[in-house]
Amino acid sequence: MGDSNVSGQAYALTVMAPIVSEEVSELVNYLDNLGSGNASPLSKVGGTHFARWVVMDNLVFEGGRQRPDSWSGPRLLFTSNFDGSLDSYLDRLHSGLGECADLVWGHCRDYPQGQGLQAFSDWIKRYQIDTSLFYAAYGKMTVENVLHSLDVRSRLAAFAGRHQGASAAELKAAFLQEFQS
């Protein structure tokens, strides 16, 4: 039935890495102060639709018949919804994040600081969890497709407004000029 992490061409990456307990506050402080939008380090990782880092510092205990769990320490959850294969994405993640990758995952256990792409990829895969069910509303569209489509849609709406009442000849000429292949 194929890879459960994949829907269309989209891939759901889930990574849960153990944080060095004494460094949780420092990591939280760093992540909380990352810039948003184009200032986010994730904006430099091509093909990423949505991504997040979440510091999970406790496990929920509901009581009743649940046996309370202990764990070796807090975990850093990273999830990403991206285009293409995992290996090509880890390459883009490593190069796109640059030193930010070290500043984030460097607070996690056994992180191979400065040891290159292969060590980085192996470490990420070591803490990856396979998705059980992945839903993508438009899994065939890459980020590039989405941004291009939004641009076309916006230009078409403006074009339609500008050319109300234009003659057929004017309309065709303007359309071909506006939407050159």
């Binding site: 849960m16 639709h49 949505f50 059980s132 438009y138 941004l147 849609r153």
Partner: protein, 185 residues
């Protein structure tokens, strides 16, 4: 620390599940992934504000081959949607209550999707707030992305045909295209 980026909102919930429930959940999700069971996921399309969502059954925290063994398994849910947190939970509760129940009834403390008040309290208790959240197109809703994809395809198709159409035929094709896709503009 933020679950919001433009129009996009993140939700991250990890709930402990009954002993043995991981076998049931793994089977349930395997069935839902099967091509013949696509209708199960297709119902999510009626929740048109969801970009991406995933469920992950965790029986041990990953660490290579060894892993860290747990006393109970956990169900991790993450979603990227547009709108507010409260509207999102309301919609899940109203539109797909049976599917919600089928997925979460094995979670400790799950009160059921209806009434929505206790359900929201349950989600809040099991939720984690993102420390950093990013979207490539924070200004677009899921519906806008899908309608934009249709518009771009229609424009490309008309562009391809345009050279072979006389002016009157082009105008007719252009009007027809706008009529077809205008709801998304």
């Amino acid at each position: 620390m933020s679950n919001v980026e433009g129009k996009a909102t993140a939700i991250t919930v990890m709930s402990p599940v009954w002993p043995g429930a991981r076998y049931y959940l793994s089977l349930l999700f395997a069935i839902a992934r099967h091509p013949l069971a696509k209708k199960g996921l297709g119902k999510l399309e009626t929740l048109s504000f969801i970009h991406y969502a995933r469920w992950t059954v965790i029986s041990k925290f990953p660490d290579g081959d060894r892993g860290e063994k747990l006393r109970c398994s956990y169900l991790l849910f993450e979603s990227n949607f547009n709108g507010t947190w409260s509207e999102y939970i309301d919609a899940f509760s109203e539109v797909v209550p049976v599917r919600m129940w089928a997925i979460w009834f094995t979670s400790f403390g799950f009160p059921g999707p209806q009434p929505v008040g206790p359900f929201k309290q349950y989600i809040r208790k099991n939720e984690y707030v993102a420390n950093h959240y990013w979207s490539a197109y924070p200004g677009a809703s899921a519906t806008e992305v899908i309608s934009a994809g249709r518009a771009a395809t229609a424009v490309a198709q008309l562009r391809e045909r345009a050279e072979g159409l006389d002016d009157a035929a082009f105008e007719e094709a252009y009007r027809e295209m706008l009529t077809t896709i205008q709801r998304g503009l």
